[in-house]
Structures are given as C-alpha cells and as structure tokens.
C-alpha cells in the first residue's frame, strides 16, 4: 500500500539531488575569488540604505488568511466530491451550502475593501 509513496519519496529525493549535483559541479568548475565588494548586497548599483529587512504591509497577511480558509474548505470538499456519485440531492446541497457560507466570507472581505492592492 505504501509502494507509490516510496516512489514519490524517491522522486522528490532525486528532484533535490540532481540539481544539487549540478550546483556542486558548478562550484567545482567555477572560479572562487570572493571579495567584499563582490559579495555586497545589490541595489540598483548603489549601496543598500538602512536595514535590509524592511517593514512589509499587512495586506500580505490578509491574502494568506483567505488562502488558508479556502484551502481548508477545499480539503473538506474533496472527499465530498469523491463521494459525489453516491450522494443524494440533499447531500449535494449541503456541500453547496458549505461553499456559499464561505463565499459570504469572501464577499465580506470584498465589501470591507481589504482585497484592494493599495
């Protein structure tokens, strides 16, 4: 039962290992002459002003939040969609109700104006 998962683990491993090998080859072949100027942070050709970890705006959190909520919604709906053929009409409508409740959340966010990219 776990066989396909072993394959997936191997493929993910290979997907990391092969680029890793390529990068190591690059490291072996390439010149290595580091100096402070070369390694300094790039910013339109001038030196970085201030701290590099700038303050980001809070809207990013809102997008992540909506994504989390809809991700969970999808996770609940996937088993529902798989069992779809065996469901009666009222069960399908329960799933639809589930979707509509969350759609209300999206429209609330829209009305509140947090979806604007300011």
């Amino acid at each position: 039962m776990l066989e396909p998962w072993v394959f997936i683990a191997l493929l993910l491993g290979a997907g990391m290992l092969l680029p890793g090998v390529a990068i190591v080859a690059n490291w072996l072949l390439s010149p290595k002459k580091p100096n402070a100027l070369k390694e300094s942070i790039y910013e339109c050709g001038i030196e970085t002003v201030g701290d590099t970890h700038v303050q980001l705006k809070g809207a990013y959190y809102i997008y992540a939040l909506i994504f989390v909520v809809f991700d969970i919604e999808a996770v609940f709906l996937f088993p529902w969609a798989v069992a779809y053929d065996k469901l009666q009409l009222y069960m399908v409508l329960e799933g639809v109700l589930f979707i509509l409740i969350l759609a209300a959340g999206l429209f609330y966010a829209w009305r509140k104006g947090v979806l604007e990219w300011v």
């Binding site: 969970i72 919604e73 996770v75 065996k86 329960e94 969350l102 947090v114």
Partner: protein, 180 residues
C-alpha cells in the same frame, strides 16, 4: 530485528521530535518557522505509515502550504519586534519545563499500565479509495458528521471575518507602514 516499517517510523519520529525541540528552542523566529515546517512534514510521513494517505497530503496542503506560509509572513511583518536578539524565554521558563516533564512522565506511567496499547494494526477492511468515499459520505450524512461539517464552515467564516476585523490595514494617513 526491526522491520523496514519500524525503521521508517523510528527515523521519521526521531527527525520530527528533534525538529520540534528546535522549534521551541531556536532564538530566531524565522528558523523556528522553518523547523516547524520540517516537523509538520515528519507528521505527514507518520500519517502515511498509518495508511492515512489523504490526511498526509492534507497535512502538507493545509499546514505547510497555508499555515506555515502564513506564519512566515507574520514573522516578517513583525520583524521589528523580534530583530534584536533579546531573551526568548520568559522568567518562569523552568516552570514550563518542569510541567512538561511531569506531564510526560505521568503519561508514560499511564501507558505502562494500559495493556490495550500493545495491539498491532488490524488489516484495513476497505481500500483507500473506498475509505475516502466513506469519509465524504460521512461528512454530509445527516446521521453522522453533518453538524461538524457545517459548523466547520461557520467556524472558518467567523475566523475569516474576525481576523479581517482585527488585522484590517489602518486608515491611510494614520498608516505608518512602508508601501511594499
């Protein structure tokens, strides 16, 4: 002699526990979040070993892709407060350590007196596909978990609305955040 499954379990459990310890001890929040991702991936592997492939994928889709990304975003948003290498544990951290240790010791004492825990897994009666279908049926069946299912959607709606209310960007002008 350990079987292959047992070795897989031990490796995954060991890595998970180590990264969980790193989560609660690393001073840097960014690194703690990265260790958290490793812990969550380890838990996903354990779900796989429990033949719950669906939950394993859900664990990755919900925790690593959504919650962990959100945590990292919030870590970067509140960078200003965590940047300075200040003390990361509070003054009564030893109290927490003792409480955790006592709880762990108590749980182990409890486990040793519970013979039911020594059982091995019975064979699954249904295929993975049938399990998933049954789960989908159970979630919308009036006699089973329809209430938790719909309440979950209301809970998510409440969380969405509440979070937006609390974290809504401030009115422009008062807003001191840098345009990014």
């Amino acid at each position: 002699m350990l079987s292959l499954l047992q070795i897989a379990f031990l490796v995954a459990a060991f890595l998970t526990i180590v990264s969980a310890i790193m989560v609660v001890t690393t001073p840097s929040m960014v690194h703690a979040a990265l260790w958290l991702i490793l812990t969550l991936a380890g838990v996903a592997v354990l779900f796989l070993l429990l033949n719950a492939g669906f939950l394993a994928v859900v664990q990755i889709a919900v925790y690593i892709d959504a919650i962990a990304i959100m945590i990292i975003i919030v870590v970067m948003l509140t960078k200003g407060a965590t940047r300075q290498r200040i003390r990361q544990v509070n003054k009564t951290w030893w109290g927490g350590a003792i409480a955790a240790l006592i709880l762990f010791a108590g749980l182990i004492a409890l486990f040793t007196q519970t013979p039911a825990l020594a059982v091995n897994a019975p064979a699954l009666a249904m295929s993975q596909e049938a399990l998933l279908e049954d789960l989908g049926m159970a979630l919308v069946d009036v006699n089973r978990y329809i209430i938790p299912f719909e309440v979950a959607s209301v809970l998510l709606l409440a969380a969405l609305i509440g979070s937006i209310m609390v974290a809504r960007p401030l009115v422009r002008g008062k807003d001191e955040e840098v345009e990014a």
